[in-house]
């Protein structure tokens, strides 16, 4: 697998069957459509280094309630498109008109995307392990850096969890929820922001381990 930087318009292949994400086809050729790293797997795709989160069915996201309606909530999911949470998708049975007793504007929820239609109407459910977030801290990083924050097989996020004893929830849309002892939450947040900053460097897991250990030592 070769990795090199492409910019929009770069020619990637003459075989249109290989066209994957982050590419477009013109005149029987495949070109890059975004700035990113080329991944020549079964398909040629460009893994973007920047850009907004686009919701996909099955994604778990942290959403922010931005409007309360009679039988649904409007939820900001850090994307160009707002999502809808219908009362039937709330973990408890509630009646129309009672929405504002359960979730108010500015409240955060963990929810799963159940559907995205052609008109980009996005539906959410909280019935599948979703919940309201009422304590802890929220940070945001670019959704393109989320895989680094998780690490291979969850190695990075487990490291941070173990070292700080915090509950950490990393969502697909770039929002990360951290709960635990105040000073450890701060340390976990700092570590995650450092990952975002240094996502492109080698040996990141070691860097982060060292960062956390040093910080802990300094605090003693």
């Amino acid at each position: 697998m070769s990795k090199d930087l492409t910019i929009p318009g770069d020619l990637l292949s003459g075989d249109v069957r290989l066209a994957g994400e982050g590419t477009y086809i013109e005149d029987e050729k495949v070109y890059a459509s975004v700035c990113g790293v080329v991944d020549r797997g079964e398909k040629i795709r460009v893994v973007p280094l920047t850009g907004k989160y686009m919701p996909c069915s099955g994604d778990v996201v942290v959403g922010k309630i931005i409007d309360v309606r009679f039988s649904s909530w409007t939820v900001d999911i850090n994307s160009p498109y707002e999502a809808r949470l219908h009362i039937s998708e709330y973990p408890k049975r509630i009646n129309p008109g009672e929405t504002n007793q359960h979730l108010g504007i500015g409240e955060l929820i963990i929810a799963k995307v159940t559907g995205v239609d052609a008109a980009m109407r996005v539906d959410l459910t909280m019935r599948d392990g979703g919940k309201a977030i009422r304590s802890g801290r929220l940070i945001e990083i670019s959704h393109t850096k989320i895989p680094r924050a998780i690490g291979r097989g969850g190695s990075m996020i487990n490291l941070i969890k173990n070292e700080t004893n915090c509950d950490i929830f990393v969502s697909q849309n770039g929002r990360i929820w951290i709960n635990g002892r105040e000073d450890m939450v701060t340390l976990a947040a700092d570590a995650l922001l450092k990952i975002e900053q240094e996502a492109h460097t080698f040996g990141l897991t070691d860097t982060i381990r060292e960062f956390i250990e040093n910080a802990k030592r300094d605090r003693k």
């Binding site: 922010k64 931005i66 900001d76 707002e82 108010g104 504007i105 500015g106 409240e107 955060l108 977030i133 009422r134 304590s135 802890g136 801290r137 929220l138």
Partner: protein, 260 residues
């Protein structure tokens, strides 16, 4: 728009921090963000300054050209301050004519310059009743990450300190430095959970119910004030805010506002 809605737990977090005299970006309550000022960067303007306070970025240009005096002040020059909250600077700014936020910003900046006596308008008279210097101070916000008023006011005085009267262009002799008689500095203090903090960052600015901007002359007198927001302050808080702001204004003036 969703950019205006701050998550509840973030709000609570900032309030909790304030109780312990801490802030979301790790600053002390009386700590200003890093300031950097570059002057003279727009050669087409008679004076200019780019101010950064943290990630907030403001460009101020001063244009000076001859014009007719107002009929009630025939022997005085004119200062006109304008601010644009252009949509480039924040997802919450929209195109169109200036709204109340931009107008308030321009008027507070103007008040500081005018009331401090930074510019002696009588010295801007070229020919009484016929021709005076018009000084246009244009504030261009580039990146809104909180506390625009202080950034704009700082940019305005820095650009004036850097400005020249363009005599050559109008065949009136040699260009000379614009006379600046005082150096007003505006410092904004925000109230969060009963605590006062200087230089609110974007998040603090979004959730604070009350901000108070105080503009000081170089002799530490107050040249202008503006309370904004829907909250209230006690008298004690007002006195405390003045003391905090006074101290910061002196530091900023000493460090950043030397004649260039």
């Amino acid at each position: 728009m969703s950019d205006n809605i701050v998550a509840e737990i973030k709000k609570e977090y900032i309030y909790d921090l304030a109780k312990r005299d801490e802030r979301v970006d790790g600053r002390a309550l009386d700590q200003y963000r890093n300031i950097s000022i570059e002057t003279g960067i727009i050669s087409k303007a008679e004076g200019s300054a780019r101010v950064q306070i943290g990630d907030t970025q403001v460009l101020v240009g001063v244009k000076i050209q001859p014009g007719e005096p107002f009929s009630d002040t025939p022997d005085k020059g004119v200062i006109i301050t304008n601010a644009e909250l252009i949509p480039l600077a924040s997802p919450t700014f929209e195109s169109g004519p200036p709204r109340e936020g931009a107008i308030e910003l321009a008027r507070v900046v103007d008040r500081g310059i005018r009331e401090s006596g930074a510019i002696d308008l009588a010295k801007l008279c070229i020919e009484e009743g016929v021709k005076v210097w018009m000084v246009f101070i244009d504030v261009h916000v580039l990146d809104h990450d909180g506390n625009l008023i202080d950034a704009a006011a700082l940019g305005a005085i820095a650009a004036l300190l850097n400005a020249k009267l363009p005599n050559e262009r109008y065949d009136m002799g040699k260009d000379v430095q614009l006379l600046v008689e005082d150096v007003p500095v505006a410092v904004t203090v925000a109230e969060i959970g009963g605590k006062l903090l200087v230089d609110p960052c974007l998040e603090e600015g979004q959730i604070t119910p009350t901000k108070l901007t105080i503009i000081f002359n170089k002799d530490d007198a107050v040249a202008g004030m503006q309370k904004s927001g829907t909250g209230m302050l006690t008298s004690e808080q007002v006195y405390q805010a003045i003391e905090m702001a006074s101290k910061k204004s002196k530091e900023i003036r000493k460090k950043f506002l030397k004649r260039s």
